[in-house]
């Protein structure tokens, strides 16, 4: 009861804070610009609040969706300003909930200082967003995309604590390639901020030996994102590579796992007139060394991968529609699920159809249908005790206010 009450308070606080600022903004949910004085630069505020609903025909996925779940919310509030030449400071508070993850905790999403030497090179330090692929650094910003649910094999909404940001620094810039477009780069290094109740814990609790985390370190993460902005307007190709050094966690049964995950992420995006075409491929590899907790020491290689292709079309200022198809495999070495208790846990294939309606510049509605086969990403064995490869539906609805 107390937890329910705390959740309600957190939820309303995360919604009311951006709403209050919006109420004081210049016009209907326009960005709020705070002037600090004639000799000081103004501070820009932006924010958003999203509320969604998930319903699935068969399994509980991303919450209690088989009964219909409203535990699908996000809110963010950011501020930025330029205190000195070539210098910018920016920070964002963020809160979210998707089923068992997030829990409306308000977190410092990013808080960074940035100095840009010139177009070719700049540095950014503090808590920074991690660039990876088209969506990783904006995966919780509903207004900046067509879809409600991004392809979950690549941008899992429950893993944001582990994936979205890091404490450290990066070097970034853009190198012109004369007639061949330009090359944008970001190389980063720092510490991650995984949570005990985050996506990794959820996964461990729902995969053999079914034991949630009791401790986890903040592993070092290094990597980079390169984008080739081709001479053809709107066409870019990207590659992101990153390496976690010494991820260590202990599960409730006393088993300690150590590993160093390596991720490859390849992206292609083409914006042509009112069309958006995207395709991405992700591969993740970690070789765990497991010790303690009773069983003899062992090693286990885990190598999931995922891909998707998508197309979206903007009909006019108000209406946009899109579709994507994505596949996720929990282990590239066992795509058929041989030997698993439920072979359907080896993969998840999802065909999605989305419709977005921009009622105003600051208020959008979305509705989305998913036809899914496979159960690899349910991560909720308690509510899904029996699983098979039959197809099932999920419907998502979401509205977002922004300023």
């Amino acid at each position: 009861m107390r937890i329910l009450k705390e959740n309600k308070i957190k939820r309303w606080a995360s919604i009311l804070l951006p709403a209050l600022l919006a109420a004081f903004s210049d016009g209907p949910l326009a960005a709020y610009e705070l002037n600090l004085g004639t000799n000081l630069p103004p501070v820009d505020f932006h924010g958003f609040v999203s509320q969604g609903f998930l319903y699935s025909s068969k399994y509980d996925y991303l919450g209690d969706s088989s009964r219909g779940s409203f535990l699908f919310s996000e809110a963010g509030l950011n501020a930025s300003f330029n205190p000195f030449p070539r210098t910018r400071i920016a920070a964002q508070a963020f809160s979210y909930d998707v089923g068992p993850a997030g829990d409306y905790d308000v977190v410092l999403d990013y808080a960074q200082a940035e100095y840009t030497f010139n177009d070719f090179v700049g540095i950014r330090a503090g808590r920074i967003r991690r660039p990876e692929g088209i969506y990783n650094d904006i995966q919780d910003v509903d207004l900046a995309r067509t879809w409600i649910l991004l392809p979950q094999g690549m941008y899992n909404a429950r893993w944001r604590d582990f994936y979205v940001n890091l404490d450290g620094g990066e070097i970034f810039g853009n190198i012109p390639l004369v007639k061949a477009g330009s090359l944008s780069y970001e190389f980063y290094y720092g510490l991650q901020n995984p949570k005990l109740d985050g996506g990794l814990s959820l996964q461990k609790a729902n995969l053999p030996p079914y034991s949630p985390l009791t401790s986890i370190n903040s592993p070092q993460l290094g990597g980079g994102q390169l984008w080739w902005n081709t001479p053809l307007d709107g066409l870019r190709a990207g590659v992101a590579l990153n390496y976690d050094r010494d991820l260590t966690f202990v599960t409730a049964n006393g088993r300690q796992s150590d590993g160093s995950p390596f991720t490859q992420h390849y992206s292609l995006e083409y914006l042509w007139k009112s069309w958006t075409f995207q395709a991405e491929y992700l591969r993740f590899k970690i070789n765990y060394e497991n010790t303690g907790g009773g069983p003899p020491p062992s090693t286990k290689l885990i190598e999931p991968d995922s891909w998707y292709v998508s197309a979206a079309y903007r009909f006019n200022k108000y209406i946009e529609a899109g579709t994507y198809y994505t596949e996720y495999y929990a282990d590239v070495n066992n795509r058929s699920g041989t030997g698993l208790q439920f072979p359907s846990d080896a993969s998840q294939k999802d065909a999605a159809l989305s419709l977005r309606y921009d009622a105003t510049d600051w208020w959008i509605f979305k509705v989305e249908a998913h036809y899914i086969r496979g159960t690899a990403q349910l991560l909720d064995n308690a509510d899904n005790p029996s699983r098979n490869d039959d197809g099932w539906w999920m419907i998502a609805v979401k509205t977002t206010f922004s300023f």
Partner: protein
């Protein structure tokens, strides 16, 4: 089969040669605040500003990109699309991504041309595209090379 690869090769050569067609900025001008030292700008530099790759002028002051809200004129809309390489929807989404990932500041949206010119005139580092026949009092125009 050989023809297929030949066509692919020709397209790639055309891309690398920068041969993709580009229209002119007809009927519009680029205006900046008088604090901006530059008198002219080339296509590539303009594009870098509209796509967030250039965020500071040469003297270090911040580029304040300013746009007309809701694409009030076809000409400024077309010019913005041509300069950025993105239509209005993609342009807006692109900058939302920049802002909420902490990588940029949202372009200032202004409701009408007169107000936009006034904002550029009063804001250090500001830049905008306006109709060539607008009243450009208090601002400087950049020649596009």
């Amino acid at each position: 089969m050989n023809n297929f690869y030949l066509k692919i090769g020709l397209v790639c050569v055309a891309l690398l040669a920068g041969a993709w067609p580009a229209a002119a900025l007809d009927g519009v001008v680029i205006i900046v605040n008088k604090s901006v030292a530059a008198d002219r700008i080339n296509d590539a530099a303009l594009k870098d500003i509209y796509t967030g790759r250039t965020t500071y002028w040469a003297d270090g002051q911040s580029v304040k990109l300013t746009v007309l809200d809701n694409q009030i004129t076809d000409k400024t809309d077309a010019a913005s699309e041509e300069v950025s390489g993105m239509d209005a929807s993609h342009f807006k989404t692109f900058w939302q991504r920049m802002v909420f990932s902490g990588r940029g500041q949202m372009p200032k949206e202004i409701g009408d041309t007169a107000a936009l010119v006034a904002y550029v005139a009063s804001t250090k580092g500001a830049i905008a595209i306006v109709l060539a026949d607008a009243d450009l009092k208090g601002v400087k125009t950049l020649k596009v090379k």
